[in-house]
């Protein structure tokens, strides 16, 4: 019982059943990670979305390891690099950051359900924030131009 599709393709009689199986299986075997939607919703809940998005330059992407021994994380967008070094102290993180190119840029660190913390980098591009609550975290950097730019990172679970 081969039917001819309007497009001219030959449909196998089992196609619909196979697609129905796949429909069930992508949810069973490969659903979006738990909490991903919430992390994205947090990331885009910004006052001003006229931003550039830095990408996570993940050295360990091949190993597929996440969350363990994250000493240093690097984000980049166009000419800007944001490096952060993380130290766990009790329930909180100490964040040592470094912006390249250097400058006295404003840095905001948002943590889901814990508001945000702000500081300013020194002329060498370095900044430190102590006692940052652990959780879903996003970094926002205001670069004083000209031209002024806002760079945001994706959220990271720190």
């Amino acid at each position: 019982m081969t039917k001819i599709e309007p497009t001219g393709g030959q449909a196998h009689p089992g196609d619909e059943a196979l697609l129905a199986e796949l429909d069930r299986m992508i949810d069973e075997f490969d659903p979006p990670p738990a909490g991903l939607v919430e992390r994205i919703q947090f990331a885009i809940a910004l006052e001003d979305l006229d931003v550039e998005v830095a990408r996570w330059e993940r050295a360990d992407s091949l190993a597929g390891v996440r969350g363990s021994d994250q000493g240093t994380i690097t984000f980049t967008v166009s000419d800007l690099t944001v490096m952060i070094n993380l130290t766990r102290i009790g329930e909180n993180n100490r964040i040592d950051g470094w912006l390249v190119p250097a400058g006295e840029h404003a840095v905001e660190i948002r943590v889901a359900e814990h508001g945000s913390r702000e500081t300013t980098a020194d002329e060498g591009g370095r900044f430190v924030l102590d006692g940052v609550p652990r959780g879903t975290t996003q970094i926002i950097i205001q670069l004083y131009g000209p031209p002024a730019r806002t760079v945001v990172t994706p959220t990271v679970l720190l």
Partner: protein, 176 residues
């Protein structure tokens, strides 16, 4: 979508909730492991909302998301390849990009074999079949509309992908 462009936080959150599975399955269908796919999904959404004013046609949203996700997935993979050339031997040692069923005993044998066969399909087939499945769901009418633009090529290609999947399944399980 109009509300999202106007900046309504709730409208944006709703779009993200509704269409994240689409972005996810395009990323996964383009060969990204789950960890990298998660980064790409976030990057694509942030890029959308920072450029939403230039996206004139709401109906174009689904195709914009698909195209941008493909491009970003490609960019990430080129970078990974440049960082560390993959030899066949190394590729074998890499963890599979397919998640391992947590408790295979709970799965039917058929499901496990089918999913494994699916993972052996060419990427283009994996992406197309994921999109086909999503487009068939009522909440993904946007995707169906985006795909309808090129329906002419989708029917036969999808049929070939499903045929290949059946062949892989037969080979894999020794029939049955």
């Amino acid at each position: 979508m109009h509300a999202a462009r106007a900046g309504s936080r709730i409208a944006r959150a709703t779009l993200v909730k509704d269409l994240t599975p689409l972005v996810w399955h395009v990323a996964r269908g383009n060969g990204l492991d789950r960890t990298t796919a998660e980064d790409v999904v976030q990057t694509v959404w942030l890029a959308l909302f920072s450029h939403i004013n230039s996206l004139a046609e709401p109906k174009a949203l689904a195709s914009w998301l698909i195209t941008t996700t493909r491009r970003e997935a490609h960019r990430v993979r080129v970078k990974v390849t440049n960082d560390l050339p993959l030899t066949d031997e190394m590729a074998e040692q890499l963890p599979s990009t397919q998640p391992q069923p947590e408790d295979e005993a709970l799965r039917t044998d058929r499901d496990t074999r089918l999913w494994r066969a699916f993972g052996e399909l060419p990427e283009k087939c994996q992406e197309l079949l994921r999109l086909t499945v999503l487009a068939g769901r009522s909440e993904y009418r946007l995707v169906a509309e985006a795909m309808q633009m090129k329906r002419g090529s989708i029917g036969p290609t999808r049929g070939r992908c499903l045929n290949t999947l059946r062949e892989l399944l037969d080979t894999e399980g020794g029939g049955g």
